[in-house]
Amino acid sequence: MRGARLALAAAVVVAAAALPFVAGPFWMGLVTQMIVFGLLALSVDLLLGHAGLFSICHGSFFAVAAYTTAILHVRHGAPTLLAAPAGLLAGTLLGLVFGLAVRTRGVYFILITIAFGYVVWGVAHRWSSFTGGDNGVTNVPFPAVAGMRVESHTEYYYLALGVAALCALGYRVLIRSPFGLALRGIKGSESRMRTLGFDSNRHLYAAFVLSAALASLAGVLYVYYNRFVNPVAASFPVSVEAALMAIVGGSGTIVGPFIGSAIILGLRNWVSSFFELYAAIMGIVFIAAVLWVPEGLVGLAARVRGRAARA
C-alpha cells in the first residue's frame, strides 16, 4: 500500500513537472488556475475540515489581496517585493477583523460570513474610484524579483506549483501539530475541549486568521496569473465554490481541495464549451456531492480501497 501511494505521488510530480512540454498554453493556464483555486479551497478547508466552521467569505481575503497587489503595481508602479507581501498583509488584516465572527457558531457563523462577503463585494463594486468598479484593474505585470522576472505562462506555472507545494507542506505541518489536533478536538466536541481547559475562541480565531492568510496568498497568485481582478473575485459564488471544491475533493485532507478544484474547474470549462445550462450542471454536482459523496473523492477512494482490501 505504501509503495503504491509513493508511486502515485511520484507519477503526479512527474506529470506536473512535464505538463508544459506536452500541453499547450490553454491547458497550462487551466492547471495554473486549478492550483490557485485549490489553494483557496485549502484555506477554506482549514476551517471547515479541521475546525468545523463553514466560512463563505474567503473570497473577500482572496479579492482584497488581489486588488492590493494589482493596484500597487498598476497605479503606483510598485515592485513585486512590495506589492506581493502587501497583498498578503492586506488580506490577513481583513481576516483579523472578520475573525470576530468566531464569536458565533453554527448557522449564525455561516450567515455572518455571507454578510461579510457581500460587504466586501459591495465595496469593490461601488467604490469605483478606488477599485475601478466593474472594470476592475487590468494589465498587472508578471512578478519580478531581484532582476529575475517571470517571462511566460510556463514560468509562472512552475512558480505557482512551487508555492502551492510549499504551502501544502506547511499546511501538513500545521494540521499535524498540537494546534491542529486542538482544532479537530473543537470540531468534534467544543464543550469537551472547553472543560479540558482549551480556549476554543482563541484557537478558532487563530485558525481563522491563518486561513485568511492562505486565502490571501491564493489571491496574490491569482492576480499574477490572471493579470486582472474585478469584483467577481469577491463574489458569493467564488466563496461557495471554494467550499464545494474542498468537499468534492475530500474535506480534511491536503490533496482533497486541489482535486476538488481540478474537478470543478475542469467540469466548468468542459461543459460550458458545449452546453448552455452549465450552471445547472454545477448545481447538480453540488447536490450529488452532498448526497452521495460527502466525504469527497479522497474519502471515496479510501472507502473503495478499504473495501478492496477487505475483499
Partner: protein
C-alpha cells in the same frame, strides 16, 4: 530506377499534391472568436448580437475571398473573468484568427488584455468603456461599436438647444458606461450654460426606483435617464406609477432600446427614447434592408446590439477582402480594418486615429409603426441627426485626453 512514365507520374503527383497543399493553406477557414454572453442577465442583448452576426454571415454565404468563415461562439456570461478565460481558450485552443466582442463594458479591458498578450486582433463590439480607445489603448484592439461618452455629448447639446432645458436632473447607472454616458452629457450641457439640478446614481439592477423618483428635485425642468438592462423597464414603470408623467418630463439619453420596447407599452409613444448611434427606425436603404431581413428571419426588430454585430461582420469582410483573404497577416488585417470606410445600416463609418468609429448620433422618439412583417410595433425613429460625431466631440483629442476619464 524509375522509368520515364513513372517519373512523369511521380512529378505529376507531386505537382498535384503541392497544388492541393497550397490550395488547402489558402482555403483553410477563417476562424472568428465571437465572445458574447449567451447565459446570464445579459443573455438577451447577447442573443441579439448572435442573431445580427449570424444574419450577416448567412447573407455573405459564410465566406470571404473564397475562404470559408467559421464563427466560434464562446459564452462570456457578462463576467470579465469568464471573458478572459474564453478569450484565451479561443485563441490558444481554437486558434482563431481574430476576436469579435465582448458585449459588456467591463469585459472590454479584460479581453483587450488577452489581445495584448497574444497579439491576436480584437474588434471590440459592443463594450464601450471610453478608456479602451483613449487612455488605455492596445495596438491590436480596434473598436467597431461606440465609445460611451460619444453618445452623451450630443445629448447635452440637444437638451440645451432643442429642448430648451436649463435645470436638469440626471438619472445615471452607477458603473463605467453609465458614468461616461451621463457625465458626457453633463459636460456639454453645462458648458452651454445649463445647470445640473441633481445627479442620481443607481447601481445596475436597482430593484426599486421609488426612492429615485422621490429624490427628483421639485424645481427641475427635465429628467434625463441613462439606464441599462432590467432597470430600463423598472424606471419606466415607476415613472408612471408614481404619477410623474403628469408632473415632469423625462427623456431617454440611453433608455428605450428596441430590445426593451416589447416590455413597455403605448405610454412610451412620443417619448424621446435614446441619443444613440443607431435607431431601428432609421430610414436609409441600408437600414431598411437590414431590418427587413432581420425581422423576416427572427420575427422581431433588431436593437443596436444586433446592428453592431452585423456591421462588425461587414467590417471584417471589407477588410479581409482588401487584403485578398490573407487574414494570417495580422498587421495587414489591422491596417485594412483601420482604413476601411463602411456603409453600415446605422450610417457611414470610419475609424479615427484612436481606433474608434466616427459616426452619426441619432436622437430618436418612440413611435408606433405598422411593420409589413411584424404588424404594429413600437420603435425608435430619429428626430435629429448629429452627423459624423467623433469620440472627442468638438474638442481636440489632446485636450480631451488631458482631462482624464469621466468619473463620478
Amino acid at each position: 530506377m524509375l522509368t520515364f512514365p513513372r517519373r512523369l507520374l511521380a512529378l505529376l503527383l507531386l505537382a498535384v499534391v503541392a497544388g492541393v497543399a497550397g490550395a488547402q493553406a489558402q482555403g483553410e477557414p477563417i476562424k472568428i472568436g465571437f465572445l458574447i454572453p449567451l447565459t446570464g442577465p445579459l443573455a438577451t442583448p447577447g442573443q441579439d448580437m448572435r442573431d445580427g452576426f449570424g444574419l450577416f454571415w448567412e447573407q455573405a454565404n459564410h465566406q470571404i475571398a473564397g475562404r470559408k468563415v467559421q464563427v466560434i461562439t464562446a459564452d462570456t456570461t457578462c463576467n470579465p473573468d469568464q471573458a478572459l478565460t474564453q478569450a484565451r481558450r479561443v485563441v490558444h485552443q481554437e486558434k482563431v484568427h481574430f476576436m469579435v466582442g465582448p458585449l459588456c463594458g467591463h469585459e472590454g479591458p479584460a479581453v483587450a488584455q488577452v489581445s495584448k498578450e497574444t497579439g491576436v486582433p480584437l474588434l471590440m463590439d459592443t463594450a464601450g468603456a471610453d478608456t479602451v480607445t483613449k487612455w488605455d489603448r492596445t495596438p491590436t484592439v480596434v473598436r467597431t461599436a461606440v465609445s460611451a461618452s460619444q453618445i452623451g455629448h450630443p445629448w447635452g447639446d440637444y437638451m440645451y438647444k432643442e429642448l430648451g432645458l436649463r435645470n436638469v436632473t440626471f438619472i445615471g447607472q452607477d458603473y463605467t458606461w453609465g458614468h461616461e454616458v451621463t457625465l458626457g452629457a453633463v459636460r456639454t450641457f453645462t458648458e452651454l450654460g445649463g445647470k445640473v439640478a441633481k445627479i442620481i446614481w443607481n447601481p445596475i439592477g436597482t430593484r426599486d426606483y421609488g426612492p429615485t423618483i422621490a429624490a427628483i428635485p421639485a424645481d427641475t425642468d427635465g429628467v434625463s435617464a441613462v439606464v441599462v438592462g432590467v432597470d430600463r423597464v423598472r424606471l419606466f414603470e415607476a415613472w408612471f406609477n408614481f404619477g410623474m408623467d403628469k408632473k415632469k418630463k423625462i427623456y431617454g439619453s440611453y433608455w428605450m432600446h428596441q430590445d426593451a420596447l416589447p416590455q413597455m407599452d403605448d405610454r412610451a409613444v412620443g417619448l424621446i427614447g435614446n441619443s444613440l448611434h443607431y435607431a431601428t427606425g432609421l430610414d436609409t436603404p441600408e437600414n431598411r434592408a437590414f431590418t427587413e431581413a432581420f425581422a423576416r428571419k427572427y420575427k422581431r426588430l433588431p436593437s443596436w446590439f444586433a446592428e453592431s454585430a452585423y456591421t462588425t461582420g461587414l467590417w471584417t469582410k471589407t477588410a479581409v477582402e482588401a487584403i485578398g483573404g490573407k487574414v494570417e497577416d495580422r498587421a495587414a488585417f489591422l491596417k485594412a480594418v483601420r482604413s476601411a470606410k463602411i456603409k453600415a445600416p446605422r450610417g457611414p463609418l470610419r475609424l479615427d486615429e484612436y481606433d474608434n468609429p466616427v459616426q452619426n448620433v441619432y436622437v430618436s422618439k418612440i413611435q408606433k409603426i405598422k411593420h409589413p412583417v411584424l404588424g404594429e410595433v413600437l420603435t425608435n425613429v430619429p428626430v435629429k441627426t448629429y452627423p459624423a460625431v467623433s469620440q472627442f466631440w468638438t474638442w481636440k483629442p489632446e485636450e480631451f485626453l488631458k482631462r482624464g476619464p469621466y468619473q463620478r
